[in-house]
């Protein structure tokens, strides 16, 4: 069949045949060597290597990085890291783990310490994968385990860094807490998580986790049969997370917390000049340190079942009727829309009639004839019923939105609520019912469907305080590396502006000054000598807490139906430096309860400032003295 057409001009096929024969023989030989080697490893040395695979003594261990610090605006460390001692057990074949636990319990008993762990022991133990028996144990237990090491083969103490929340519950709702990465996070997240990693679960810890977390390290260690490290073969150091610097002032935060004296509620202190949050408290709160090594189930249930919901941050997710603090917005709308002038007087007899319904003023016998200034100072309801009726709900809503109400402020925290600014359209869509005029009357004094968060109120009043700029509230100043180099800087952001005439602005702020400083003003309790505090009180009727059902079952039913006390204000009147919104839940009247809290917060702010100034002056004098010498 072979035709010699001689396409090939080159080496003869016979030569190739010869070469290929040799090559094939060489290949077979080489593969035969591999086969012999395979036989040697698997059959001759098989048992020995099998033994070694079971006792595999060399292993990689991941080293958890230190999470970044969280500091306040003055560099005070609010969240640090501290060592936690865990008791671990490396299971060995043929040893009952339960027996080992019993042994540990017996050793503890000699010093009458309890074995305190509700960590379930895994049903199937893989040899040479350590099991965490107890987390975050006392130094005493560490000593006991270490000194009895001979009787406890495979049991050892491991040191891991855990979070230390210096101010605990005072700032917990903002900073949040950490915990071991969950199954869902492992499956869903695009982040590079491994099981056992620590991750932020809530608050800043969660929102900025990618920055705070740091980078895992690795080490190669040789361990003995009991899992104890006997030799370090090499390591790649972990990289600590970045430091987060907040706009919070730790001292002011503490003062705000203390001002509440344990009452439930929330307060936001904000710099009206750029929207940075100076303090934000929410009460009751929780101790984030409890979550460090996995929260004990009973503690978790206690937090979950508490009707006051300590895990929520009321400052951003608590939605309350704004009460009379809303009158500022109605007043702004009325002036701008030309419904009234600053001189328009309305007579208050103590009640306001609409059809056959009668709406009462908080002052039984009425305020008499009042103008806008007095109506705000004395918080006359009838005045605003009248004005609100003339404005209509939709116009009020437009101004409320201008002040930033009814939408999330956009602060760097999760779970922020939008609040509610009702309109005709909203009601028709939501309730399939037309708007009733009577509802406008309620809206005019901040009751009814109106809902705002404390943060929104602080934002709205800040805008008035700074002359009309709506700043986005922000909590984070910057993120930096441990050497101080900046990773990311958060700049203030303008969200909008109040489109109000200068005349309206000055009339309103003068009225807010009057609320606090004029005789008969409802906010007299916020007055500070030599400081122009401006503000507005509010007392909002309670519609119900989210946990009403649970609350009803509580004995003190009436306590949950008491009014919420509000005060929102700023100081000083010109060039305001601090705006404060306070809400105390079920605590009574705004003037009586909330205004003093706001005063205390402002006191703390201005006292600290004075002190700082004094220190500075003293330092200057001292340095001058030194130069003179």
């Amino acid at each position: 069949m072979e035709k010699q057409g001689n396409l090939r001009n080159g080496p003869e096929p016979a030569e190739f045949r010869q070469k290929l024969k040799i090559i094939i023989i060489l290949t077979v030989l080489a593969l035969f060597v591999l086969m012999i080697r395979l036989w040697y490893l698997q059959v001759i040395k098989g048992d020995e290597l099998k033994q070694r695979s079971e006792n595999n003594a060399v292993r990689f261990r991941k080293i958890q990085p230190l999470r970044g610090l969280i500091m306040d605006r003055n560099g005070t460390v609010m969240v640090d890291n501290c060592p936690s001692f865990d008791v671990l057990y490396m299971p060995t074949k043929g040893v009952d783990p339960e027996l080992m636990i019993r042994k540990i319990k017996d050793i503890y008993k000699t010093k009458s310490i309890d074995y305190s762990s509700d960590l379930p022991f895994p049903k199937t133990v893989k040899p040479y994968l350590p099991v965490r028996l107890e987390k975050n144990v006392s130094i005493q237990k560490v000593a006991l385990v270490e000194t009895n090491a001979i009787d406890l083969p495979g049991v050892y103490v491991d040191v891991t860094p855990v979070r230390l929340y210096v101010d605990g519950e005072i700032i917990a709702p903002i900073i949040g807490y950490t915990g071991e990465v969950s199954k869902e996070e492992l499956e869903k997240s695009e982040e590079d998580y491994l099981s056992g990693d620590i991750t932020g679960k809530y608050g800043i810890e969660k929102v900025l986790d990618p920055h705070i977390r740091g980078r895992r390290g690795n080490e190669l260690v040789e361990v003995n049969a009991f899992g104890k490290v006997i030799k370090n073969l090499g390591r790649i150091d972990p990289a600590s997370g970045s430091t987060v610097v907040l706009t919070i002032d730790a001292q002011l935060q503490k003062a705000a917390w203390e001002a509440f004296e344990g009452k439930a509620g929330a307060a936001v202190a904000m710099d009206p000049r750029d929207g940075s949050i100076l303090a934000m408290v929410s009460l009751p709160s929780f101790d984030p340190n409890l979550f460090n090594s996995g929260i004990v189930r009973t503690e978790w249930e206690k937090l979950q079942k508490n009707p006051l919901n300590p895990l929520s941050n009321r400052a951003i997710s608590g939605q309350y009727p704004p009460g009379s603090t809303y009158k500022l917005i109605v007043a702004a709308a009325a002036l701008e829309e030309g419904i009234i002038t600053t001189e328009t007087r309305i007579s208050c007899s103590g009640s306001f009639s609409l059809g056959n319904r009668s709406f009462r003023c908080w002052k039984k016998h009425g305020h008499g004839s009042v103008n806008l200034h007095r109506a705000l100072v004395e918080s006359c309801d009838v005045y605003f019923y009248t004005v609100g009726k003339m404005l209509g709900v939709d116009k009020i809503a437009r101004y409320a939105r201008m002040f930033g109400l009814g939408e999330a402020t956009g602060i760097e925290l999760a779970h922020e609520r939008k609040g509610l600014v009702p309109t005709r359209e909203w009601k028709l869509a939501r309730m399939k019912e037309p708007w009733h005029l009577g509802e406008t009357i309620s809206i005019s004094i901040g009751q009814g469907f109106n809902l705002t968060t404390p943060l929104q109120l602080a934002q709205a009043y800040s805008a008035l305080a700074n002359g009309g700029t709506l700043w986005r509230p922000h909590l984070v100043q910057r993120i930096e590396l441990s050497d101080g180099s900046i990773v990311k800087k958060y700049l203030p952001e303008k969200k909008g502006a109040l489109k109000l005439s200068p005349k309206t602005l000055s009339a309103l702020s003068y009225a807010l000054w009057g609320v606090v400083n004029e005789p008969g003003g409802t906010g007299a309790n916020a007055r500070r000598p030599h400081a122009d505090v401006c503000g507005k009180t509010g007392t909002s009727q309670v519609i119900g807490l989210p946990q009403t059902d649970k609350a009803r079952r509580m004995q003190k039913i009436t306590a949950f139906h008491k009014d919420h006390a509000l005060f929102v204000g700023y100081a000083p009147m010109k060039n305001a430096e601090i705006a404060v919104a306070v809400i105390a839940e079920n605590a009574g009247g705004g003037g009586a309860v909330a205004a003093p809290i706001a005063r205390k917060i402002m006191n703390a702010y201005f006292d600290a400032k004075k002190k700082e100034k004094a220190v500075k002056v003293a330092a200057e004098i001292k340095s001058e003295d030194e130069t003179e010498d």
Partner: protein, 371 residues
Amino acid sequence: MIFFKYDRRIFQNFDWTLCGLVMAICAIGVVNIYSTGFSLSDNQSPLYLKQLQWILFGLLLMMITFLIDYRAINQAAYMVYGISVLSLIAVALFGHTANGAQRWISFGFVLFQPSELMKVSIIIALARYFDDHKSNEPYLLRELFVPFMLVLLPCVLILKQPDLGTALMIVIVAASIVLFIGMNWKSIVITVVSVLVMLPVAWLFLKDYQKDRLLTFLAPEIDPLGTGYHIIQSMIAIGSGGFLGKGFLKGSQTQLKFLPEQQTDFVFSVFAEEWGFVGGLVLLMMFLSLIIWGFKIALHSKDLLGTIIAFGITALIAWEVLINMGMVLGLLPVVGIPLPFLSYGGSAIVSLLAAIGLLMNVSVRRFILQR
């Protein structure tokens, strides 16, 4: 030139043995990669599925390289080589870096490793050259200048990545082809001597970290975190498999993640741990059959071009199998060379399957071409 002409004989004489062997080895590879990913609790899309997708894509490419007459493909040999070199340059300029090496071009969702394509391109480029410059006498050194440059250019680019294993593989395969078609004895001696002389000179030009890398390559025990650890764990894994193996998904070395690089270069350890000596032997026999079959195709080809292509591709597979297994079994130093069809890696499997298409191409066309 004949681009594609339907010919009944292409299908009548289809090389079922070769195709079947390759498919069987690929199937073993996928099952084995499934096992390596079995205990991954981390968030990773299963590797075996990705590998399966790459194989399917590779099979498509294989059909193309099979159907188009290899003499037509030969016309494009330098173009394919040029594209490969250009993509290597692209890697050097803006390649994707991982594990300290810049080896990939990122196309958004897929990473392409041009050096894998280069392994095949160099074979067809050399085949083209020697087919164009036929000689009845063994080649002299000066006649080999062009082939030498053809090999040197990609090697320099690949060494820069750095990827010593792949560069070495290209040199070995090219050398095999040259020696196979015949090289003057004197020329061989001169080449070997000059390489030996050049080595210390080259050493002086290396940067410190490159020297370190070479040293660890030559003496793994100085880097216990790296290659030394690999070798120890690999041998423990293989040995602990015993005669019959620990069973599918039961390899403790694998499942407990003691074994590094288990989807790629050390994939055979996983296989040997779970399937034992019996499994290893079966796999070795399959590779041996594939290699012998490939050399037979080279022998029976009706023209020099087919012979060189078939020989080159088979030599590539043979060398990769031998070096990879030698290193995994602790007989050779660790150098990054994957096990053909078993190691995870999209570019490698696609390039290999395309090469197998060429091999089948040569195999079938001996029944069509007239001598």
